[in-house]
Symmetry: C2
Subunit: 362 residues, 2 copies
């Protein structure tokens, strides 16, 4: 599928939704793809089934704090450099690139890389949403080694990491990303087509497109975009969504610490009986409690949306006074297995609450 400019806007809106608050500002990503299109490049998205089993796929992404990204803009070729450095290191050319993370800017970085290098982009990713850390990938959960990985910055500096431990990969890469100024561009989880089919969350780019389009079309026909989304989700692997809170943001604590945007948002309910929602943030929205009671928990999606337009609001854009609706969404079964929850379930973030599917939370 060749991506059009109109599609791109919808895709970015949907990616911001799937980013569950994080994944990096999608507007910057959209500008980067549009710039590539202005230069005459096109973006080709292919289904995982179209990738030959022995073809080499090198995923690409931004890593860092979303709070940094909006002030330290990319030069544009960093992720390309990382992919090429890995090609050189392993001595093979990539057949395709793909997202490691479908959320936010990270659904568009591979589109930029693919456009400039003439590589197709595989429709799928390794998170099915956005997560803050590099080991939190279905690729890792189901046995693909994260390294060798490459990290580049806007000066052309590049670092390659090799380790057998995905946690160490995250730890070292985060240290490098911090010293590159808090945002850098990576290529990692080099794999073949068979691994893509086995370990990726499939068709998440086209899902982002569908979600973004659903929101836009509902607005255009003056329908309720929230309801349109809730009606759409059961037709996707993200089988269930509901509004768990509506209200006004009354307090934001947010700091860039240890390379992440960390903090919490407090939302006062529109009606007094609703109480106060508190959302904890590490780049992404991780857990939502109302008056201390858990209402949604990672890895299910917790999406903060503009209360009128359903435009997703990323964590770095949360502001006092915004009127929002919080939608929680069930993630696909591949992301809820015990192996997956061990890597990116509540415990991985230090929460002492078991994963409870949003379908079961009152």
């Amino acid at each position: 599928m060749k991506l059009s400019r109109a599609d791109l806007k919808d895709l970015c809106r949907g990616a911001a939704f799937l980013g569950t608050g994080g994944g990096g500002n999608p507007y910057i990503g959209r500008l980067m793809v549009e710039q590539a299109m202005d230069l005459g490049h096109s973006v080709e998205i292919i289904d995982p089934s179209e990738v030959p089993d022995d073809a080499l796929v090198i995923p690409t992404a931004m890593m860092g704090a979303p709070t940094v990204l909006i002030e330290k803009l990319p030069r544009g070729d960093e992720a390309i450099k990382s992919l090429q450095k890995l090609e050189q290191f392993i001595g093979r050319k990539a057949y395709a690139t793909m997202p490691i993370e479908v959320g936010g800017i990270n659904s568009t970085i591979p589109l930029v890389v693919g456009a400039h290098l003439g590589l197709p982009v595989v429709d799928g990713d390794g998170m099915g949403r956005a997560f803050p850390e590099l080991q939190m990938e279905t690729f890792a959960v189901y046995g693909v080694p994260g390294t060798p990985m490459a990290i580049s910055n806007e000066y052309g500096d590049c670092t390659l990491i090799e380790t057998h431990n995905n946690w160490m990969m995250e730890w070292l890469a985060r240290g490098v990303a911090i010293r590159m100024g808090g945002a850098a561009y990576i290529a990692e989880y080099v794999m073949n087509g068979a691994d893509v089919k086995r370990t990726a969350v499939p068709n998440t780019l086209s899902l982002a497109l569908k979600i973004g389009k659903c929101i836009r079309e509902a607005r255009e026909r003056h329908a309720d975009p929230m309801q349109a989304l809730i009606d759409l989700l059961p037709k996707t692997p993200y089988s269930f969504g509901k509004i768990i809170f509506t209200g006004k943001i009354v307090d934001i604590k947010r700091e860039t610490r240890a390379g992440f945007a960390q903090g919490r948002a407090r939302i006062q309910g529109t009606d007094s009986w609703q109480g106060l929602m508190e959302i904890e943030i590490q780049n992404e929205n991780l857990i939502a409690r109302v008056d201390g009671k858990v209402r949604a928990i990672v890895p299910d999606l917790i999406c903060v949306l503009d209360n009128e337009t359903a435009e997703p609001i990323t964590t770095e854009e949360l502001r006092y006074g915004q009127r929002v609706a919080v939608m929680a969404v069930a993630v696909p079964p591949i992301m809820r297995t015990p192996e997956a929850l061990a890597v990116f379930g509540p415990k991985a973030f230090g929460f002492d609450h078991p994963f409870t599917p949003i379908e079961q939370l009152g």
Copy 2:
């Protein structure tokens, strides 16, 4: 020259002297070489003139805080792994290894690497002493690029760095070394024989051996080892040495911060008219002041020696109550050029005092 066990002890003592307080604990380095010798390996040291102009030399070293090194001991093969990773990355085998730094453990790490891999070790280094940071090398001063460089830890994790900026190399590598626990093992400044001859401080390993031997032999004949050293130095490129202070350590402030051992030592003069000496430390002794007046300044050596035996005391081993003599030593002309002082003179450490040769300081 084949290094004997007896030579090794002298070499380590001399390396601790040239380390000007830093370079990492030489005792640990000696044990590592002895272990290699126990396995039947031998250490071959060659003169820079013996290296063919087009032969590939890959220097090896420890990097990190000396305070960490004495608690987090190396596994032993980390620097070997780094050298081999660079060989693989650039697609060429090393003809020899060499020290980047003649001080402390870093004169012995290349001996360990050379012994295990059957490579000769070039008699020279890139600092002529020890410095805390990787860009502070005569190799860099005279135009050898620091990267590609490799950093390995005790788990076999390895990171490769490529940049055109030696300061960025230090910045990124330090971040990785910190996340590897504060001490890691590197290979960098890949160069050919012609570059070695042009940019290295020559014959510093054999100088370390001479210095260590001089101290030992003076002790054995019940002579004054300080005076023996002062008599020896004019016969070397380190043409001048003098005792600038004697006293008792009365205060030590030392912390492991930003990946370095940082702090200051205070020494109360043996005689009351001597006043109080304060030495500032970043891994190495950098500046010595008596009652505020500069008495010796980087890059000249500031060596804290046991007042009776002239055994060099590294910064991490400084303790309250030690009776010490502080010897300052002139470094060779290659380390005092304007280019060299720009990279590792007082200003590079933030001191607002011009470099003044020890020969001219009262």
